[in-house]
């Protein structure tokens, strides 16, 4: 009788192992998204130094007070901090004679489009904060020596970079 019971148990185990084994498997995939932040600059006005009078020793275009200052509007995420860096000094080249002209730039900024209360950017790069509609205004002034200046057209690029901080 013990032998018979053992056989029944054996059969039960075999039956279970045969029928109850359900195959199961798993796999995983990754979902990815890359988010970038909108940030751009719009040139509202180029630098206009006006008519240069030869008798001047140095030409100064104050970014806070001169109407000829260049104007750039920065647009991005509201209230975000942005790092601004710019060329503080560049060599401009006379297109006819290849003589150079060293120009030093100064930049002031304001969250509103009001040049008169803008603040001079004292460090380079400098961190600014966009206003609640995502805007910030920059005024670009410059300064260069008139001594030994060869008349003609001078070309050069003033570069300004902005990036989220």
């Amino acid at each position: 009788m013990k032998l018979f019971n053992f056989t029944l148990l054996l059969l039960t185990l075999l039956i279970n192992s045969g029928f109850a084994q359900k195959q199961q498997t798993e796999a995983t995939t990754r979902v990815e998204a890359v988010v970038i932040e909108y940030l751009e600059m719009i040139t509202l006005a180029d630098i206009d130094v006006g008519t240069i009078i030869p008798s001047q020793d140095i030409l100064r275009l104050n970014p806070r007070t001169d109407s000829g200052a260049g104007i750039i509007k920065v647009q991005g995420r509201p209230n975000s901090k942005v790092q601004v860096s710019f060329s503080s000094q560049i060599e401009m080249v006379n297109v006819a004679t290849s003589s150079t002209l060293t120009v030093t730039y100064r930049v002031s900024g304001n969250k509103d489009n009001d040049q008169s209360v803008s603040d001079i950017l004292t460090t380079n790069p400098e961190i600014i904060k966009l206003n609640d509609i995502g805007e910030y205004y920059l005024w670009i002034g410059c300064e260069f020596s008139m001594a030994n200046l060869v008349s003609g057209q001078y070309d050069g690029d003033f570069v300004i970079d902005v990036d989220y901080n």
């Binding site: 018979f4 199961q24 498997t25 995939t29 998204a33």
Partner: protein
């Protein structure tokens, strides 16, 4: 006493023969059972196109290039139950705590080829289907169980995952999450 002894021997003999016969036959029948195999693989991750912060709803639709794809290989005739587990949000891969709400959809193609045009969209997070859909017509005989003498033919069914995310005004960077697929023979 003799009768008694004879009876004990007879009973023992009968039991022994019965046990041996029954045990031998049953053991042969079940010990040769070969389980069907079932494999799932990740064929392609799901990837949204680069998107601007704050731009709102972004979708990958069925058939779009960014779909994720799973392959499930198993016995042609058997049904499987597939279950998806997806995160409610994609998390920033860096230090930011910002998230992107994410909604998953999926579809399956079970005609033996990786062809999204044959895919059947699923409502919900689980579906039951045959590894390889039989041709139209009346159902055939029940599938022959796998054994030492019969190995069922197998096919691959394909799962396509797609869906949408809602990008609010969040930090820039990479966001991700894992979608888990669980498959079991029904």
């Amino acid at each position: 006493m003799k009768r008694f002894k004879f009876s004990k021997k007879l009973i023992f003999l009968l039991l022994t023969l019965g046990v041996l016969c029954q045990g031998y036959g049953q053991t042969i029948q079940f010990s040769l059972h070969v389980s069907s195999t079932l494999d799932a693989t990740n064929e392609n991750d799901m990837a949204f196109e680069t998107i601007l912060s704050g731009s709102g709803l972004a979708e990958i639709n069925l058939g779009d290039a960014g779909m994720g794809v799973f392959g499930i290989t198993g016995d042609n005739d058997l049904d499987v139950i597939v279950t998806m587990t997806a995160p409610a949000n994609l998390a920033h891969d860096g230090a930011s705590m910002d998230v992107i709400p994410f909604t998953l959809k999926f579809a399956y193609a079970n005609k033996g080829v990786n062809d999204v045009n044959q895919a059947i969209e699923v409502a919900g997070t689980s579906a039951r289907f045959q590894i390889r859909q039989r041709e139209s017509g009346p159902a055939g005989a029940p599938p022959t169980p796998p054994s030492a003498f019969h190995t069922p033919s197998q096919s691959t069914a394909y799962i396509y995952i797609y869906g949408s995310m809602n990008v609010g005004s969040i930090d820039a960077g990479s966001y991700s999450g894992n979608v888990d697929l669980s498959v079991i023979y029904d």
